[in-house]
């Protein structure tokens, strides 16, 4: 079965700094989803990447999919306290089931 490994597990950055979170899959990635979760709340959809080399941006968050490396990265530019939370990557193992397998999450703290 497919597994997703996120790194780092946790991250503390100073406001204004850039940061990157990685998500590595044990199998081929057919689609990669990034979500954000605040403690005690549900997951908020950020971006979906479906093609190798694809890159998407939303405000100061950019995600890329490297299909050959079976990896995706999430980059935040000029971090703000509002970026704090848990970032989760999810993948559809066969690309057509709709069922997402998730990584363990990366907890981000942004110090003002």
């Amino acid at each position: 079965s497919q597994e997703l490994e996120q790194s780092p597990q946790s991250l503390i950055v100073q406001e204004g700094k850039n940061l990157t979170i990685n998500c590595t899959s044990s199998k081929t990635l057919y689609g990669l989803y990034w979500y954000k979760q605040k403690y005690g709340e549900g997951l908020i959809f950020l971006m979906m990447l479906q093609k190798g080399g694809e890159e998407k941006s939303h405000e100061k968050i950019t995600a890329k999919l490297d299909e050959k490396k079976q990896q995706s990265s999430l980059h935040i530019t000029a971090s703000q306290p509002s970026h704090a939370g848990i970032y989760l990557c999810g993948a559809d193992g066969r690309g057509n089931t709709g069922k997402l397998i998730f990584g363990q999450g990366t907890t981000l703290q942004v110090k003002p």
């Binding site: 709340e41 549900g42 959809f45 979906m48 709709g98 999450g105």
Partner: protein, 114 residues
């Protein structure tokens, strides 16, 4: 558009008791999922419905967990009897279809089993 609604938000029960969670998906979303998220881990799929039919329940502990979506809209997830290891957040999600669509999540029900 109204999001995925879940209730209750919190539930505390003793082991061996039973509990039920309710989910109302986004209007028009045919696919509904129940996930279990244990503290410090990513969500794990329990069951997937397409309209009122079960697509995948391979990860559902069927000796104690059951779920239904009788009219193809809202859904209930039940645990009977609960164990200490069932303490988790139970998340409901919905999507327009089973392929290539983002899942939209509710705020979850936090279950504590004592």
């Amino acid at each position: 558009e109204a999001g995925v609604a879940q209730s209750p938000r919190y539930k505390i029960i003793e082991k061996r008791q039973s509990v039920a969670f309710w989910c109302n998906p986004i209007s028009g979303h045919a696919t509904l999922y129940w996930y279990q998220q244990i503290l410090g881990q990513g969500p794990k799929l329990l069951i997937q419905f397409q309209n009122n039919g079960v697509v995948d329940d391979s990860q559902l502990p069927k000796d104690r967990f059951s779920a239904e979506r009788l009219k193809g809209v809202d859904s209930t997830l039940k645990i009977q009897p609960a164990k200490l290891e069932d303490s988790a957040v139970y998340l409901c999600a919905s999507s327009l279809g089973p392929s290539g669509r983002a899942l939209h999540f509710g705020n979850g029900t936090r279950l504590t089993v004592t």
